[in-house]
């Protein structure tokens, strides 16, 4: 089974800190994604990456950046954490497009981040 591992289940950080959320997948997937999930707002896409060193802005990229130096790892960076970034963060991966095949996405268990 494909596994997507997020390094922390719960995280508490202070306002202004630089925060790194790590995500690793073990199935050689090209595409990786970061979402945040908030009550009443659902899941919103922050950033995604189609391959190593590639990145694309999602729907809510402000206040975040990403890094994809290796294919298996996709890091989400909160440059200066703020209380409105308190949320559940979910990482996902899928294979890159190959012909006409279509794929489901595999999600990690999530990191619940609290910024105080």
């Amino acid at each position: 089974d494909v596994k997507v591992t997020q390094s922390s289940r719960y995280l508490v950080k202070r306002t202004g800190e630089k925060v790194f959320l790590e995500c690793v997948q073990d199935m050689d997937h090209e595409n990786m994604f970061w979402y945040r999930q908030d009550p009443g707002l659902g899941l919103r896409l922050i950033y995604f990456s189609y391959d190593v060193k590639m990145k694309e802005k999602g729907d809510i990229p402000e206040g975040y950046s990403v890094s994809r130096e290796k294919k298996e790892r996709f890091s989400l960076i909160l440059e200066s954490a703020s209380t409105n970034q308190t949320s559940m963060y979910l990482c996902a991966s899928r294979p890159g497009n190959r012909g006409l095949r279509e794929y489901g996405y595999t999600f990690g268990s999530g990191t619940r981040l609290t910024v105080v």
């Binding site: 090209e30 659902g42 189609y50 729907d59 497009n97 279509e102 489901g104 996405y105 999600f107 268990s109």
Partner: protein
């Protein structure tokens, strides 16, 4: 932005009953997917239906897709207490040749009472 809107937002049923939830979306899609999320956990992929398919089955799950109405439904038959979870529809759209983007609806919370 939410591509899909789900209805109802919450559903409470007895074990053994069927649960039906609906999803509407706004733009053209490559496929539509349904996911389950147990409380506070990650999402689990349930089923994918391509834009040229109308119905798909997987175990106790039945999904329909009507691209003319931009809507989909998920039916869970003979529900069990373990089916208690939130269910999300998500539309998958090719952004570049290299990959797609998945956009979620707001979800339906399903409670199956023993």
């Amino acid at each position: 932005s939410q591509q899909g809107e789900e209805d109802p937002q919450a559903l409470s049923i007895q074990e053994g009953e069927n649960a039906t939830m609906n999803c509407s979306y706004k733009t053209s899609i490559n496929n539509l997917q349904w996911y389950r999320q147990n409380s506070g956990r990650g999402l689990v992929h349930l089923i994918l239906i391509r834009s040229n398919e109308r119905e798909k089955h997987s175990g106790r799950l039945r999904v329909t897709l009507d691209t003319s109405k931009k809507s989909s439904s998920l039916l869970i038959t003979a529900s069990r207490a373990a089916d208690t979870a939130s269910y999300f529809c998500a539309t998958d759209v090719m952004i570049k040749a290299a990959g797609n983007k998945l956009t979620f609806g707001g979800g339906t919370r399903v409670l199956v009472k023993p």
